[in-house]
Symmetry: C2
Subunit: 275 residues, 2 copies
Amino acid sequence: VNAPDNLRHRVAAGEIAVRLTLQYDGSGFAGWQLQPRERTVQGELESALARLTDRPARVAAAGRTDRGVHAAGQVVSAAVPAKWQPAELQRALNAVLPSDIWVVDAGEADAAFHARFSAVARGYVYRVATTPAARSPFLRRWCWPLGRPLELAALDALAGELLGEHSFRAFAKAGQPERGERCTVHRSSWRAWGRRGVEYIIVANRFLHHMVRYLVGTMVAIALGQRGDGDLKALLAGGTPLETSPPAPPAGLFLARVYYPDDSIDEDTADAILP
Amino acid sequence: VNAPDNLRHRVAAGEIAVRLTLQYDGSGFAGWQLQPRERTVQGELESALARLTDRPARVAAAGRTDRGVHAAGQVVSAAVPAKWQPAELQRALNAVLPSDIWVVDAGEADAAFHARFSAVARGYVYRVATTPAARSPFLRRWCWPLGRPLELAALDALAGELLGEHSFRAFAKAGQPERGERCTVHRSSWRAWGRRGVEYIIVANRFLHHMVRYLVGTMVAIALGQRGDGDLKALLAGGTPLETSPPAPPAGLFLARVYYPDDSIDEDTADAILP
């Protein structure tokens, strides 16, 4: 699937389109998107590219992660001078980028490829530390440091209710764009996160703003007995005065994987990528 | 075993002695020890204690970790006003300390207890990431991001040569204090660190400056075939013109555990503590 003509990168003569896969620790960033006077991933990446190619650079990402959210498999597209072959570009970028961003992979892409508009699905992982050691500095940076036990089977049963196509209006930050609220969830499950806690995996064709964090916040509140078992289903069905629980903290959320038309969604979203 | 009289804390009337167990991410500190104009763990902890108890505070640590070195089980002793019961002190400290320091445990100690002088052994863990993903921001913060395979059996055979009492003069930074160079190694072994790499565990009665990092640097160089298999033994025996390999980077090193007279050294140093 190619990006619509008006949304393609302009790949000029003497340029090639590249596709980069990035990991970043979101702790030190005000999110992906370029903002004045804020340290953002896009800002750091565009600065590094501009420095290497000696011209202004503009990149597009598959998912515009929020402040504090991490990426294990963000995909980025850009047009660069053809003399920068992807493998060389990857090495050079990793040499100049700060240590909280890492280019995992780089390859030449079709000129019609656009990291965001060509994507057909995205996978997120959300980690909750349930051990008493949740507040350890070696855990809390990249998780929700809950520090209380959660019943995995109960969470996983809730997650199963989200599979398929639904309106996720109840699980979106106010002020959504007008693209509609329906999302198709291909995968939604909880599993053990080593000895440290539990993790939620969701793959869907699209996501509303803060949707994963609202879903996790609500599922965890139900699992802790703070609200009724039926609330998730009621919120999903709509027409209820119920509201979601507060969104789970951003530090637990990872954009794990972006899927393009040739990718199989059956593959494991998290295993190959997250440590 | 009690600390010698002249090295004890002064526990005044109306005070109790406390023993704290700390974890910290060494990345953001110029080491443990108080230094002017540098962010140190001791500085942060003493500031937090002074703020809570409204008087100047002085603490002593079992191991004065270097810049960039982490702790999973650092032990600290101090005298505090008796109205601060240990559990309350732990909660209050965790509320005011920055998120890269965490008080795991707190208890009242005998007035003769001194975190450093009462200790009979210390255990360190050193982690080396050997996967191609070693440079991931989710790995490199707390490891040596080597990114090349290492043969575990070869490393473990080398580690076994260090058991027992030896002079470790060859594995110490120049300018050691005059307390001698002999150390007794109770445990020295390598094992798998999940899918991410390998980790070295060493427990000894004492350590010279940078000793673990020189040992790891030299063992890894041998395992990579960069120097001879016999070099470790030759360096340990002394009287050789050989020198150690460069010290392994500080980010891989964790002070994992401190042992006092009642503790068994057979227990696993790392499992219970490190994520």
